[in-house]
């Protein structure tokens, strides 16, 4: 067995720290590729973005740290996703993403120890308007 703590100092140090903003220019081709990848032929996606598009606006720095932080649990799965929309994200917008790790929760289950890592993200457009808020739960096991 491994005595390494499931919640390492490195992981814990990420809690409640704001990462970003990382800025994405919403180009037509990027949205077309996303719509094609999700196999959704709706012509609306030539101008606005499909509901799950914020998944492509990745807060890379936080996620990179989260997935590479020391942890004896090496496997990762996506546990849950949540999005709230305030304005459409349109082709031509410039979207800034900020993210923070909200919570770390250790659980003992029949699969052994699992760690829930809950991240919150905020998406703002070029006019400073909040367009969407997201929450994602990642599971290490």
């Amino acid at each position: 067995m491994n005595d390494e703590p499931v919640i390492s100092q490195e992981l814990e140090s990420l809690l409640n720290v704001e990462f970003g903003p990382e800025v994405y220019e919403i180009e037509k081709g990027m949205v077309m590729r996303f719509a094609e990848a999700i196999d959704d032929p709706n012509p609306a996606w030539l101008e606005v973005t499909p509901p799950t598009f914020p998944a492509a606006l990745v807060p890379t720095e936080l996620l990179h740290r989260l997935f590479n932080a020391e942890c004896p649990l090496k496997r990762v799965l996506n546990g849950a996703s949540e999005l709230e929309y305030f304005k459409p994200i349109r082709v031509g917008n410039v979207i800034a993403v900020t993210a923070r790790l909200d919570r770390l929760r250790k659980m003992e289950g029949k699969e052994g120890t699992t760690l829930f890592m809950i991240m919150a993200a905020t998406y703002t457009n070029q006019d400073g308007e909040l367009v969407a808020r997201g929450k994602n739960t990642y599971i290490r096991y």
Binding site: F34, I38, D40, N42, P51, A56, L83
Partner: protein, 143 residues
């Protein structure tokens, strides 16, 4: 495109037209590229199996995207999606059908807006729920 759904057309229990998808490895690779999620469990079978999975599994976000498509197809051009959430409770394997379903849980008026809360879920061919979640939408009214 489907006809516009009005607030008056739905009741608690109304069903959203179901959608069936069949993700291939190629689609998962495209999704990896489009989303930037290159975790190998979604296209590398050896890696997936070495990680204790039964095979290549579909990105949770991709399955949720299918549920999103079901909802935006249903809404047509008039309705607005306000919230979307999904919990990934089981696995969808590549080259297996994903069945997407939705059912109205509640309709209500708030600040003169006509809302519906719809439960959504995806099933694998064994009939297991792999994604469960909900959406909140604003619908146009005939009133």
């Amino acid at each position: 495109m489907a006809e516009t759904v009005y607030y008056e057309d739905i009741e608690e229990g109304s069903e959203v037209p179901a959608l069936v998808k069949y993700p291939t490895t190629m689609q998962l690779v495209k999704y990896a590229g489009a989303s930037g999620d290159y975790y190998q469990i979604h296209y590398d079978k050896d890696f997936a199996i070495a990680n204790g999975l039964p095979g290549v599994i579909v990105h949770g976000w991709l399955a949720l995207s299918f549920l999103g498509q079901m909802i935006t197809d249903w809404l047509g051009g008039e309705g607005t999606l306000v919230k979307l959430d999904g919990s990934y409770r089981g696995m969808n394997l590549v080259h297996e059908e994903i069945f997407c379903y939705g059912r109205v849980k509640r309709k209500y008026i708030e600040d003169d807006r006509h809302y519906a809360r719809v439960e959504i879920w995806a099933e694998n061919p064994q009939g297991e729920k792999t994604v469960t979640g909900s959406v909140v939408v604003i619908l146009p009214s005939r009133g």
